[in-house]
């Protein structure tokens, strides 16, 4: 699904240049649930943003579902993001004047799906994250966990090939974090490919594979036995 070869990325700040990714090689198979770990500043978000086509690598190859991602125009990148990728952010990033349902329907709007179908699909995905009855509520009326579940529903609504989550539990307490991870695991169970950036050891162990970043390179990449989040959720 994802293929990365010798990926480099540096940020220029004035005359200095900060080399963040120094040759990343890694690939993700269909249906994997990968945790990306590493200390703060190790380049986790940078990697994820490149995978998400929000940012571009300086060097190296990136293939997504056999499509080479290189020198995309902003328009092309937007279309690929819409078709291939779902994003979940640490700070949820819901649009505050849109109801939960409208937020979930937004990626479908950019796919030019008709309104009726959009609403139907959005409600269906809200159902799957257990928030069907919150459909008409604004984000400000939802708890953090609920917001993140709406965000996950939104990311899934466009039926992407890969779900990218940058610290999805970073702003949540542990109980809520497990609820969100439970949801992510269930989505993965259905065969979706998911990458999760996290700081937390316990969250990482709820994935099936852990990739460790340090000083811009992968220092460890191991399969783990998945801990089911459901065990912690009553």
């Amino acid at each position: 699904m994802i293929e990365i070869k010798d990926l480099h990325k540096s940020y220029k700040m004035g005359s200095n240049s900060l080399h963040v990714l120094k040759g990343i090689n890694f690939s993700v198979e269909d249906g994997e649930l990968v945790a990306i770990m590493g200390s703060s500043g190790s380049g986790k978000s940078t990697l994820l943003n490149i995978l998400g086509m929000l940012d571009e690598a300086d060097e190296g190859e990136y293939t997504l579902d056999n499509v080479p991602i290189k020198n995309l125009s902003e328009t092309k990148a937007a279309q690929y993001r819409n078709k291939f990728l779902g994003f979940v952010f640490q700070s949820f990033n819901l649009i505050n004047y849109k109801s939960a349902m409208e937020n979930v329907a937004l990626p479908l709007y950019y796919q030019r799906v008709a309104r009726k179908e959009r609403t139907e699909k959005a409600l269906q995905y809200l159902e799957r994250v257990g928030l069907r009855e919150w459909a008409t509520h604004l984000p400000s009326e939802l708890s953090g966990g609920q917001k993140q579940r709406v965000a996950i529903a939104r990311a899934m609504a466009a039926e992407p090939k890969v779900l990218l989550a940058d610290e999805p539990t970073g702003a949540l307490d542990s109980t809520t974090s497990y609820e969100v991870m439970d949801l992510i695991q269930k989505i993965n169970d259905e065969g979706n490919t998911i990458l999760v950036v996290t700081h937390e050891e316990d969250i990482a162990h709820m994935c099936k594979r852990i990739v460790h970043l340090k000083d811009g390179v992968i220092v460890e990449d191991k399969k783990v036995k998945q801990v089911r989040a459901a065990e912690y959720v009553q």
Partner: protein, 420 residues
């Protein structure tokens, strides 16, 4: 373009407009006020325009009056202070020497300028009214509305010095019964019987006459009052394209030469140049129209710039939202178009509301001033002006929308998302 006709686009835009009420209100108020002022001002100046037109509708717009006074400079053996008397023969000379003249109507009068009015009687009723000796030409200069069934003085009246008269509305009321038809009836003017041939309608504010004036043929007047070839004053209309100030000068110069008056004597002839005054008023009112156009456009401009400003602020506020939208697949052109269409929609919406309120205000003012003496009538804004202002708003709305739109897409989505 496709986006413009897509229902989804409009849903997004109306949601964004509806859900950001304060922003919507603030953006719209500027253009609303701008177009409101524009419509109000240009409507009001049009109303003044119409009002002045109405004031002058009964008299030729480039007409003037001339009469004799006393000389102030001794000349050709005459002493100063000589009273100048205009003569009927002057008319022919004036026609020949001043080609810009279209019509001259000499008039004689009894009852104003210090002379005694005629005593008019009918049976037991009587009254004192001004009596004018007129030529039919007078009706060409000052339109006299004659009530149905009647007429003004005609050429035959002059040729035969007929004893006919045109009376005023008030005279009719005072001398005739209400249900009586005055046409064909007889009245006595200074003891001579005259047949009434017409009743003239009095137009308030129009001209200088009153509703009790009596017009008789010039020739009859001459016989009745023994005025010979004397003329009280000349009513003169110049051609439409003539320069009335120059015509006035030429007329006076001609009169000076006819009557042996020094060419430098400014006081020997009096005149009143209605055309000049009319031009000044029209100049004022077209100045008003122009001013209101400028002020209105400036106001609209200011309003649109306000919209651009607030949209710019709102784009900054919504950086994160726009980043999210782009992460979810909004292309730069979709983001750009959405903001431009938003700007355009806000501008047009505010503009249309402004036009409606402006038109209502004009209606109210019109209703309040109706029937009054104030020269104000039918304050409409010409449709081309309205369409022009709408077009102007469309163009400005799009142009001003370009700035925030460009700003919105100039930020990379990754930076937009990082924004707090």
């Amino acid at each position: 373009m496709k986006q413009l006709f897509d229902g989804n686009t409009w849903q997004e835009i109306f949601q964004s407009i509806r859900k950001n009420k304060l922003r919507t209100f603030l953006t719209m108020i500027g253009v609303f006020v701008g177009i409101y002022i524009y419509i109000g001002l240009s409507g009001a100046s049009k109303g003044l325009d119409n009002g002045f037109e109405r004031q002058f509708e009964t008299i030729a717009k480039n007409s003037l009056f001339a009469w004799g006074q006393r000389t102030s400079i001794p000349y050709a053996g005459f002493k100063t202070g000589r009273q100048i008397q205009l003569k009927l023969g002057d008319v022919e000379v004036l026609y020949n020497r001043v080609p810009e003249i279209e019509t001259i109507a000499p008039r004689n009068v009894k009852g104003i300028f210090g002379s005694n009015p005629g005593i008019i009687t009918r049976g037991l009723k009587s009254g004192n009214y001004a009596v004018y000796g007129d030529f039919p030409d007078f009706a060409d200069i000052a339109t006299k509305k004659i009530y149905d069934g009647g007429r003004f003085i005609n050429d035959e009246d002059i040729e035969q010095a007929r004893k006919v008269c045109v009376i005023g509305e008030r005279t009719q009321k005072e001398l005739f019964e209400e249900d009586e038809d005055p046409i064909g009836g007889y009245i006595r003017i200074d003891n001579i019987y005259f047949q009434v041939v017409g009743v003239h309608k009095f137009t308030p504010g129009g001209g200088f006459e009153s509703d009790s004036d009596i017009y008789i043929p010039f020739a009859t007047f001459k016989k009745l009052y023994n005025t010979g070839d004397n003329v009280s004053w000349l009513t003169i209309a110049a051609y439409d394209d003539a320069d009335v100030v120059k015509v006035e000068e030429d007329i006076k110069a001609t009169l000076r030469s006819i009557h042996n008056v020094s060419p430098k004597d400014e006081r020997a002839f009096g005149s009143f140049n209605l055309g000049e005054i009319f031009n000044k008023i029209m100049g004022f009112s077209s100045g008003m129209t122009f001013l209101s156009l400028i002020v209105g456009i400036a106001c609209i401009l200011a309003g649109v710039i306000g919209i651009g400003n607030i949209l710019l602020i709102s784009v900054k506020e919504r950086t994160k939202e726009l980043g999210v939208r782009r992460a979810l697949g909004a292309t730069p052109s979709e983001v750009r178009n959405q903001i431009i269409i938003e700007a355009l929609t806000l501008t047009l919406l505010a503009g249309i509301i402004g036009i409606i309120f402006g038109a209502l205000t004009l209606k109210i003012i019109d209703a309040l001033t109706k029937g009054g003496d104030f020269p104000y009538a039918n304050p409409t804004v010409p449709i081309p002006y309205v369409i022009g202002s709408l077009l102007l708003m469309v163009v400005l709305g799009v142009l001003i929308g370009l700035i925030p739109a460009q700003r919105a897409v100039s930020i990379r989505p990754i930076d937009a998302l990082r924004e707090e």
